[in-house]
Symmetry: C2
Subunit: 127 residues, 2 copies
């Protein structure tokens, strides 16, 4: 549970930055060197490295070192935990809407039943 | 686009902490005062307030002030943007797996076709 919670912290923290999200999009197209990942952004290599380390800590990047070339590869699996957390939440939220929907339908049915058993000329139930 | 990106930053940042995630779970059951939200955690009211402000900035909490009582209510809508971001990503990832799957199937078909048209005794195609 602690592990999952810490993993979620790291994944959501990694996603909470536009540069890191853009790096993940870039890596979705294929492996990139650290230099290639840094190139589109107006940041230093050191700055890019910090972002890459944050992505690594979340398990979203695997780095392969060959001599002086560091190649980063995407590992999207940790995203599932984040998606599941939000999905569970949405389900809960939707369930509340479902309950409301069911209550409204039950109310409708009750009103129809009252109407159909109402004697002609008897007073209408208030809506 | 900037707005969406900033909203995503705020939502993912809000989710990147176990106390804030627990507060959201609590609020999913119904509105809570700031005191009620802080109670289960070993943190000061000031600490709880900071977390609540982070959730407010992400649009996940709406606060109603009546005299000295601040009541927080969940607004789950901003979570959809976060879910969509991850979902889009998963789709992309799955598409890559689909392409790989299609390539492997095409390779299989190619091998079968080569086998069926191969004259008896002719050399096998390398796998």
């Amino acid at each position: 549970m602690v592990d999952t919670s810490e993993r979620l912290d790291a994944v959501f923290r990694a996603l909470a930055d536009p540069t890191r999200r853009a790096m993940l999009r870039e890596l979705a197209a294929g492996p990139r060197t650290v230099g290639e990942l840094a190139a589109p952004f107006d940041i230093s290599l050191a700055g890019a490295s910090k972002h890459i380390q944050t992505l690594e800590r979340a398990g979203l990047i695997q780095r392969k070192v060959q001599g002086r070339v560091h190649t980063c590869r995407l590992d999207a699996r940790p995203l599932h935990a984040g998606a599941e957390w939000i999905r569970h939440y949405e389900r809960f939220w939707n369930r509340k809407l479902d309950v409301l929907d069911a209550l409204l339908k039950a109310e409708d049915l009750g009103t129809s039943a009252a109407k159909s058993t109402r004697k002609p000329g008897s007073p209408r139930r208030k809506a």
